[in-house]
């Protein structure tokens, strides 16, 4: 707070951020220099684009400045007026309740809804017997087989939730219980039941994939691991287990459907509107144009909620049949069965060390894929790519073998990052253990191994879905990849030099220790510079039809000189429109963000876009926005030049005023130009999401922690954290800080909580009851200090050097916790979750050994 007239003023954050600036000229593979005239060669088409798209990160007025989130998005959250689907209310609304399968694997022999239908207030009961044909959820209500506890048996709509629940309980179902496999141990057993009609429980890639293997889901290798192990000085083996985790959104998943004649209005909860509008249209066999889809605010989605939209077409159908609005708010215990989760997995490493460096890695990972085959196959590929990249640029021999199995549990998928925490936990523990084998401090050991700018990517793979991911022959190199900086700056910020090199070596009951882990993500999917060419190919339907990967935005200049962004994407606390507004303001020469407005999340008001994912909104929806701003800029220059009779090259923009540097008398304004054009000037921008191609920017992060372990009880707490991110230019530091506070704590929860599979129903793989047995961090659990380290890596491909970084570091936290606890008390926990019991058991073992 600053003092003014003796009274301190409440000012915005950030509150605990260290900004690391880089020199503008860096020796990257994409070339040094920093002028807008410098060029980059990008993408499969070898398209030549300007560095920073012609907008260098210099002399900025809005980008990089801390400002509270945009009022129209943020203020309603504080007032209680943000329209979550759960807040939608109208008279005469029916409430839906789900009857869920109590069995991991079963068949419905028969069911009788007659008595339930006669109960008070019951309007309609939907089951697999009367469900509409072609429902898009495919696996739901599509037959009599139930694949996991929580699978949908029936949905009841009634006057109140209580009455609907009464009726659901009165439905008589005769289940034939089938043999099932709920976890890896069961599905990998020799006598595991057949869950895929004779096709085997191990999921296999398309045989045309270069990564196909008849005995594994995904295989990739470099060099010759047999030779590597033969030449190694030392060989070690490690095993790690991850029990499954989930972030759990606050808002109950669901939606509201209301018909007016043949027009449906649907209030949803997800990360986009158009893909889910299309799902309902397909499910009901109606025209998407007849659906008004609204989704502006969400109370978290975390990627997990993406799969809950399976209920949408059922709700729409029930609303049609009953001619009443229908609302669903899933209770937390049932919701858990429909979220994407971080899957249970088991990792084995065999690692060779030669001349003090890792020379050979055999990585074998088994995961429980849940009820969806595709999710498991995609995840194994994603896992292999993400993890092999971070440390293998200089490892001559490695092989990755991934196995995904169909199981009778909920599906794996995006869940506060896609395949990060659940597998990096094993990698980061292994790197620490190998540092100890090599007799090195884990920080310099990581610096030695981590991939660095100028090194080639080691993964050359093709996804199973036919899209090319990386170039052949390792021709793609890392560029703006601040891998060394995040380690060095993080070590400084946490005070790594205070670390006792002897695990458990500090005296006393309360032992402190330090830990580090790293993480890497793919913020890059650069949608812009392949731009309209690639967009047109998607429109023409060369892959996946016109909805695949398209992002569109409208930009409207009005007679108040305001620029209105029209973006389809809902806000889940993501504040992405705030970041985009900074970029728009900067590009149009504003010195504040005050003139930028946003309209979002409504299919009647905003143009087609896919959905946000993987923390890449700034480059996906951002591609569309930036493209629209470029068009608006060019148009305004032309209009102003014509109106003023000057050369457009002499014109400059400042806070909505356009003036000529040649003749200061000649000025006009944005507002006047809008007025002259009949009240507004509108431009549409487009961008694409087409996998990563070669135009990829990678981000890297590190988490440094200081923890304290109570060696009498096994309790531990986080004392201090330095969370380091390869950020590119940070658009809005205070919002970035807010986002990263959550990232650290959510990942901490994933480290210490497994999904409470059987706490409530011992002996089965039942999901427990929402928050009751699921310990979520509260205000009492936050560390005393949470420092963010933002390293501006000057991403050369994007406007102002921006790159997404919201999930670059998120995977590092579990490993950092495990490593810090080991350093504090000498107990190495290789079996997730990290609990007091395991710490105590380890301490007792150490005591006995000593």
């Amino acid at each position: 707070m600053s003092q003014e007239n003796g009274i301190p003023k409440i000012e915005t954050g950030p509150h605990d951020v260290i900004m690391i600036e880089q020199p503008m000229v860096r020796d990257y593979s994409t070339g040094g220099g920093h002028g807008p005239e410098d060029t980059l060669i990008e993408g499969d088409e070898q398209i030549v684009t300007q560095k920073w798209q012609g907008y260098p990160p210099e002399n900025l007025n809005v980008v990089g400045k801390s400002m509270p989130p945009m009022a129209e998005v943020a203020i309603p959250r504080y007032l209680g007026t943000a329209q979550y689907a759960t807040r939608v209310w109208m008279p005469g609304m029916l409430y839906a309740k789900v009857l869920a399968s109590p069995h991991p694997h079963a068949r419905i022999r028969s069911m009788d809804t007659a008595e339930a239908e006669r109960m008070p207030g019951v309007a309609y009961i939907l089951t697999h017997l009367n469900a509409p044909n072609g429902n898009p959820a495919r696996l739901e209500l599509n037959g009599d087989e139930l694949d996991y506890v929580g699978d949908i048996v029936a949905i009841v709509a009634a006057e109140t939730e209580d009455l609907a629940e009464d009726a659901a309980a009165a439905i008589k179902v005769d289940y034939e219980i089938l043999p099932g496999a709920g976890n890896l141990e069961q599905v990998m057993a020799p006598d595991a039941p057949d869950l895929r009609q004779g096709r085997g429980n191990l999921l296999l890639m398309n045989p045309n994939s270069p990564h196909y293997d008849p005995d594994a889901t995904f295989v990739s290798e470099r060099g010759n691991i047999e030779q590597g192990f033969a030449e190694a000085d030392e060989i070690r083996e490690f095993s790690y287990y991850f029990g499954g985790a989930i972030p759990v959104p606050m808002q109950p998943c669901g939606g509201v459907a209301r018909w007016e004649g043949d027009k449906l209005t649907f209030w949803g909860m997800n990360q986009g509107i158009y893909p889910y509008r299309a799902d309902i249209a397909r499910g009901l066999g109606i025209d998407a144009e007849d659906i008004h889809y609204i989704n502006k605010w969400n109370g978290c989605t975390f990627g997990s909620a993406m799969s809950t939209s399976k209920f949408n077409s059922f709700l729409a159908h029930m609303a049609k049949v009953t001619d009443r609005p229908v609302k669903l708010m899933l209770p937390k215990d049932q919701e858990l069965a429909h979220l994407n989760i971080k899957p249970e997995n088991m990792t084995r490493f065999r690692v060779g060390l030669k001349d003090g460096r890792i020379s050979t890695i055999l990585y074998e990972m088994h995961m429980s894929s849940g009820d969806m085959d595709g999710a498991g196959i995609a995840a194994t590929a994603e896992i292999s790519k993400n993890n092999m990249e971070l440390y293998t640029a200089d490892v001559p021999h490695w092989k990755t073998l991934s196995y995904a199995y169909k199981t009778n549990v909920i599906r794996s998928g995006c869940s506060r990052s896609c395949t990060q925490q659940e597998v990096k936990w094993a990698w980061e523990s292994m790197i620490d253990e190998m540092a100890e084998v090599a007799g090195m401090d884990p920080v310099p050991f990581r610096r030695l191994h981590v991939s660095k700018p100028g090194q080639s990517l080691t993964m050359a793979w093709h996804s199973d879905f036919g899209s090319r991911y990386e170039s052949e022959n390792g021709a793609v190199t890392y560029d703006s990849f601040a891998s060394v900086e995040v380690i060095d700056e993080g070590a400084k910020a946490i005070g790594w030099e205070q670390r006792n090199p002897v695990p458990g070596g500090n005296p006393g009951r309360y032992k402190r220790g330090f830990g580090v882990a790293m993480s890497q993500h793919h913020p890059g999917h650069m949608g812009y510079h392949e731009g309209e060419l690639a967009f047109q190919r998607l429109i023409d339907g060369d892959r996946g039809g016109p909805q695949f990967g398209i992002f569109t935005a409208d930009l409207e200049l009005n007679t108040d000189g305001e620029v209105i962004m029209k973006n389809a994407l809902p806000d889940s606390g993501t504040n992405h429109d705030t970041a985009l507004a900074h970029v728009v303001a900067e590009m149009l020469g504003f010195t504040t963000r005050d003139q930028i407005r946003v309209v979002w999340g409504d299919s009647d008001l905003t143009p087609l876009s896919q959905q946000w994912l993987a923390g890449k909104t700034i480059t996906l929806q951002g591609a569309a926005i930036c493209s629209a701003v470029n068009k608006l800029r060019a148009d305004l220059l032309e209009r102003a030049a014509s109106a003023l009779g000057v050369d457009p090259a002499t014109l400059e923009f400042r806070d909505g005023v356009i003036s000529s540097t040649a003749d200061p008398e000649k000025t006009t304004t944005f507002a006047e130009l809008a007025l002259a054009n009949g009240g507004s000037i509108i431009h549409t921008g487009r961008g694409v999401h087409k996998d990563q191609g070669r135009a990829l920017a990678k981000g890297v992060g590190a988490c440094f922690l200081e923890v304290e372990v109570d060696t009498w009880t096994g309790d531990w707490r986080m004392v201090n954290s330095a969370y380091c991110h390869d950020t590119g230019k940070v658009v809005n530091p205070m919002v970035a800080e807010a986002d990263m506070l959550g990232s650290l704590i959510q990942s901490t929860q994933m480290t210490t909580d497994s999904i409470p599979w059987d706490r409530e129903f011992p002996g089965t793989r039942h999901y427990s009851v929402g928050y009751l047995s699921f310990r979520l961090p509260t205000i009492m659990d936050v560390p005393e200090r949470q420092t963010q380290v933002f390293v501006d890596s000057l991403e050369p491909r994007w406007f102002y050097g921006i790159k997404s970084f919201s999930e670059t570091s998120i995977g590092s936290v579990p490993g950092a916790i495990a490593n810090a606890i080991y350093n504090a008390c000498g107990v190495r926990i290789r079996e997730h979750p990290i609990t007091r019991d395991k710490i105590m058991a380890g301490l007792k073992e150490r005591e006995a050994g000593a």
């Binding site: 707070m1 009274i7 301190p8 003023k9 409440i10 915005t12 954050g13 509150h15 509270p68 203020i75 959250r77 504080y78 007032l79 209680g80 329209q83 807040r87 939608v88 209310w89 109208m90 008279p91 005469g92 008070p120 019951v122 309007a123 006057e159 109140t160 939730e161 209580d162 972030p247 959104p249 606050m250 109950p252 007016e260 605010w297 109370g299 978290c300 009953t322 001619d323 708010m329 209770p331 937390k332 889940s572 606390g573 205070m734 919002v735 800080e737 807010a738 506070l741 959550g742 650290l744 959510q746 009851v769 929402g770 928050y771 009751l772 979520l776 509260t778 205000i779 659990d781 936050v782």
Partner: protein, 205 residues
């Protein structure tokens, strides 16, 4: 009163006529004191009619004995500002003040709160006149997704009414029953401490 499905669907059909846009919900809430339920809705099995004093205004609602306070506030009276998340008295999102004390409205029976002073987020501030907790919160990004926000704001109001100058530990104790999945906790702590300063005139916005 028993309803056959046929009878019910017939009634439901006429009920659909009264539908208006969802934006109209405020005026529905504002009409208050209506003991009439929307047409076509059958009477609950064990009817009670109660008076609720919410943010100073008096409302009447008809509900079953098992109905929770949240269901009366958000579903019967359409005061939708209060969010329900866990519905198991674990997360605090649905908190309201009853006679100044925070309660989880998802696990308070409506009948327990009859004729008592209830305070919800709607009583805190509005767009033109933000309460200091809301204004400071916005400046500190104390809400990311915002779903838990109305709950902790109401509890923080209850705390500041009792203790205008709380320490960080007192704020943490008071808000320990609130889960924020975005983990904005450090910003929430700062917000409550500094909103207290603003309310005491020791800091300004």
């Amino acid at each position: 009163m028993k309803y056959s499905r046929r009878h019910f669907l017939k009634a439901a059909g006429s009920g659909a006529v009264v539908l208006t846009t969802v934006g109209g919900y405020r005026s529905v809430a504002g009409s208050a004191a209506s003991t009439q339920m929307a047409s076509g809705i059958p009477a609950p099995m064990t009817v009670e009619i109660g008076t609720f004093i919410i943010n100073g205004a008096t409302y009447q609602a008809e509900y079953e004995a098992r109905t929770t306070l949240w269901e009366v506030i958000a579903m019967k009276l359409a005061l939708t500002g209060t969010n329900r998340s866990c519905n198991r008295a674990s997360c605090g999102a649905c908190s309201v003040l009853i006679e100044g004390t925070p309660y989880y409205s998802c696990h308070t029976l409506a009948t327990e709160a009859r004729e008592k002073d209830i305070f919800t987020v709607e009583g805190l501030g509005d767009a033109d006149n933000l309460h200091p907790i809301q204004a400071v919160g916005h400046r500190y990004v104390a809400a990311d997704c915002g779903f838990c926000t109305p709950g902790w704001e109401v509890t923080a109001k209850g705390l500041l009414d009792e203790n205008p100058d709380p320490t960080v530990d007192e704020v943490k104790m008071a808000l320990s029953g609130h889960i924020c999945r975005c983990a904005a906790y450090p910003a929430i702590i700062r917000t409550v401490v500094d909103a207290g300063k603003v309310m005491r005139g020791e800091a300004e916005l």
